[in-house]
């Protein structure tokens, strides 16, 4: 089953022609409307009309996450503010989020791409799709929501949390597709077992899981325990949100919606493009966006691309499951977390940089975040209530910067492991 067979199974040569036209139009659009890109193109001595073949993409400048932050909040928007109908934001390293904007047409296209994703999972207008991604500035909830509506499915916008109620609704509404993070899917399976509910007694057929890295082993476990097809979706808010790429029942990599996103793999050190099959950093150019089109956006995700037609008949290029990031970003409960965000909170509290350690774990399939802070003379007080206040204040501060819950533990000096004189900042026990 396809959502748009003509596009999804298009001859690659013909697809290339469409992509070239869209790339030319995008380059012209950003050159004329975004001062950042005009300067970046000029610095490289290239003009939009120099693009003659798809291969010319390699001459265009890169965009990195920092560029979005430097132009916070709306500096990279190519559309007029009156034409922007929605913004989303993700966390950045300094506490300022990176902001993306969508025009009415962008929102419609995004919904259409997400609808495509649900069809990969076997969805149709008879489906009951329960969206358990968080709703809000995070793209997960609303992205999955509008896609489900575009598909014509019955959409259940529960957002995240309240697991027993989620399960009750699944039973009562006859949910057929669940959209959430893979770790939450496993947590739901566990809760069902605790409640004495056989997951196989539900109408659930498939899950659309993403927003955090997960392994094939985890997929097998989810499929086995919930008795469903588990589909991996990939997306990032800078590019659009969920629905950039999705794997099909053949599970041979995630099909990138190449009519909207032009993927490349580059060597992160030399920045040179790499051929199909080679592992490197994924770079995406959005070729059909109005709000915030990005040229050669460096995703920091390490993967490789494969162009052979898939068993499902789709010709769209496939990317391997993303298992590693090229920088220090953590994804906790689907939210991007940078250690430097936590550090900046601590520096503000103590005036000096205290020794701290971030411990990420996964208990009952839910990610937990603990920050251990060494109590230095500057932080210490003889009174319990002052120390407790300090602890609560750090927790509240970190929580407001990251948007996710955290446990702060005060520890004795020198108890955090140091190597080569530097404290080890992150311990991720989820692997």
């Amino acid at each position: 089953m396809y959502w748009n067979k003509e596009i999804e199974c298009m001859d690659r040569e013909q697809l290339g022609l469409i992509q070239l036209e869209k790339l030319k139009a995008t380059a012209k659009k950003v050159y004329e409307n975004v001062p950042f890109y005009k300067k970046a193109f000029d610095d490289k001595g290239i003009r939009p009309e120099d693009i003659r073949r798809l291969d010319d993409l390699k001459h265009l400048p890169f965009t990195v996450k920092n560029d979005l932050r430097d132009n916070y909040p709306f500096g990279l928007f190519a559309a007029k503010q009156e034409d922007i109908v929605r913004v989303h934001a993700s966390s950045g390293t300094t506490g300022k989020p990176t902001v993306v904007g969508y025009t009415k047409r962008d929102i419609k296209n995004w919904a259409d791409l997400m609808a495509r994703t649900y069809v990969f999972a076997g969805g149709n207008k008879n489906s009951v799709i329960q969206v358990a991604y968080g709703y809000g500035l995070f793209t997960g909830g609303l992205g999955a929501h509008y896609g489900a509506e575009a598909l014509g499915a019955m959409t259940v916008p529960v957002s995240g949390g309240n697991t027993k109620r989620q399960i009750m609704l699944m039973q009562d509404f006859g949910t057929t597709i669940i959209a959430c993070t893979p770790s939450y899917a496993l947590f739901m399976a566990e809760t069902m077992e605790d409640m004495g509910i056989d997951p196989k007694s539900l109408k659930l057929e498939a899950g659309v899981f993403g927003a955090e890295p997960w392994t094939e082993a985890m997929r097998t476990e989810i499929e086995h325990r919930l008795g469903i097809l588990a589909i991996d979706i990939y997306g990032l808010s800078e590019i659009m949100g969920p629905g950039v790429a999705t794997d099909c029942e053949y599970k041979q990599g995630l099909h990138i919606s190449e009519d909207f996103f032009l993927p490349e793999i580059i060597d992160p050190d030399t920045l040179e493009p790499l051929p199909y099959g080679e592992k490197g950093e994924l770079v995406i150019t959005t070729i059909d966006k109005d709000g915030i089109p990005l040229i050669r956006y460096r995703t920091r995700d390490i993967t490789s691309l494969h162009e052979q037609t898939c068993g499902c008949g789709r010709t769209m290029v496939r990317m391997d499951k993303v298992l590693g990031r090229s920088d220090d970003m953590l994804i906790i409960r689907g939210v991007n977390v940078f250690p430097s965000q936590i550090e900046s909170v601590l520096v503000e509290m103590a005036d000096v940089s205290p020794h701290y350690q971030i411990v990420v774990d996964r208990a009952s399939n839910v990610d937990s975040l603990e920050v251990q802070v060494e109590v230095s003379a500057a932080l210490f007080s003889d009174e319990i209530k002052r120390l407790e206040d300090l602890r609560n204040k750090i927790e509240a501060e970190i929580q407001s910067v990251l948007g996710i819950g955290v446990t702060v533990t005060l520890v004795e000096p020198k108890t955090i492991e140091r190597s080569m004189g530097k404290a080890k900042r992150v311990i991720d026990n989820r692997k």
Partner: protein, 142 residues
Amino acid sequence: MIKQISVFVENKKGRLAKITEVLGQAGIDLIALSIADTTNFGIMRCIVSDPDKAISVLKQNGYTASTTEVIVAEVVDEPGGLASVLGVLDSAGISVEYLYSFVRTPNENALILFRVEDIGTAISALRENGVKLLDSGDVYQI
């Protein structure tokens, strides 16, 4: 006024044993001791024979420690003894952050250590009401 030592202690097995061992090896005598704790951490508060040395030894061994000025009052060891001293502080509008008692041999008056916000006012109020306060010379010899 008496100097009290406060040390940050994690709620973990063996931590107190280690701290007291460090003090013992430096020849420092513990005269009074109290522990305030929460689920995650505690503060060990103590009066020692040589507070300055204790602080430097603790810091050398990587502990976070500080000194706090406290009052040590002699309280008659009979029912109502502590109540009358607390009554004096209450009438003077002074609230007690915490207090704990010294270990003494029988038949002696009890010694109570007080930590208050306004230590000067507390000292004059107690003295005016005939409460005997110990000075550092008295305490460190106990």
